[in-house]
């Protein structure tokens, strides 16, 4: 059920990418898709009633290992979030450059000006 809601979020982002014409709107849709994928990966590692994967003083390793959530997806998603920010900055700079060249954010408008 939770997985399905995440998938709905992903589909909304995909719909935006496919149908929208404004470049900033496309960037925003891509950001939403990225959020959905990150959330899905973290959801895969969740354990019912689990604790955070950070050990405390005086905790037995066996006890910790039996209760913690999966730390591997969390580590991978952590890098993915920062990379997402870098890619977002790259996309926004492309948008600004296109706006400079054509004076508009609209894709179809750009095509017409070029031809």
């Amino acid at each position: 059920m939770i997985y399905l809601l995440t998938f709905v979020l992903f589909s909304i982002g995909l719909y935006g990418v496919v149908t929208k014409k404004n470049t900033v709107k496309i960037v925003i849709s891509l950001v939403i898709m990225e959020y959905a994928v990150n959330l899905f990966l973290v959801l895969l590692g969740y354990r019912k009633g689990g604790i955070a994967p950070i050990m405390e003083k005086g905790q037995e390793i066996q006890e910790f290992a039996a209760a913690t959530v999966d730390p591997l997806p969390q580590a991978l998603v952590l890098t993915a979030i920062v990379i997402g920010l870098g890619v977002l900055a790259l996309m926004v700079s492309l948008c600004i450059r296109l706006y400079e060249k054509y004076g508009t954010f609209d894709i179809s408008e750009m095509k017409r000006l070029k031809g």
């Binding site: 939770i2 900033v24 709107k25 925003i28 990150n38 969740y46 405390e56 991978l76 952590l78």
Partner: protein, 187 residues
């Protein structure tokens, strides 16, 4: 717990729909911010404090960058004429992907049972039980990020570096001068 997560996700879906469908670019950017902060709360509920902190801070920066990109431009409103054919194609394509997704998601283990419980030889089991002894770090996420899977972090640093190089190349000053000259020629 699961119900709360579901409610949060529904809130995020509503935010995403508003962000994509609204006509004003600024309110669209702010709706994305709402989705991102909801995502951060969801990470906190899923017992991932590391990502929750990172998501909050990255979301702030993301909003600042997007607002700087859109608000200084004169056009904040956008036209919304759509081609009927394109929308129909997109809808059919999305329905096909959605049906496939339902089939694929049903094959996954139930929510709340991570893969490491099903497969005893999964690498996560080693990381959890041996992590403190082998690396000495109490934060297992940190241990995985910078010791077991440090190549990943190296690749991440490279990608960030390349992103800046790309941004610099796209927005460099030299190209700016050429555009100015063209404008002057027209005048």
């Amino acid at each position: 717990m699961v119900e709360m997560l579901g409610l949060l996700l529904i809130f995020m879906i509503i935010g995403a729909v508003i962000a994509i469908e609204t006509k004003n670019l600024l309110s669209s950017v702010i709706s994305v911010g709402a989705v991102g902060f909801g995502l951060s709360i969801a990470f906190l509920m899923l017992r991932a404090p590391d990502i929750a902190i990172t998501q909050v801070v990255v979301e702030v920066l993301c909003l600042v960058i997007l607002i700087r990109a859109t608000i200084s431009r004169d056009v904040t409103g956008i036209s919304c004429d759509r081609e009927f054919f394109a929308v129909v194609c997109a809808a059919v394509f999305l329905i096909a992907i959605f049906l496939f997704g339902i089939k694929a998601l049903l094959a996954l283990p139930e929510f709340g049972t991570p893969v490491m419980l099903l497969i005893k030889s999964a690498p996560t089991n080693t990381y959890i039980s041996e992590g403190l002894k082998q690396t000495g770090a109490a934060n297992i996420v940190s241990a995985i990020l910078l010791d077991y899977r440090a190549y990943d972090t190296l690749g991440e640093a490279t990608v960030l570096f390349t992103a800046i190089l790309g941004g610099l190349a796209i927005l460099r000053r030299k190209a700016k001068k050429e555009v100015t000259q063209i404008v002057e020629d027209k005048e």
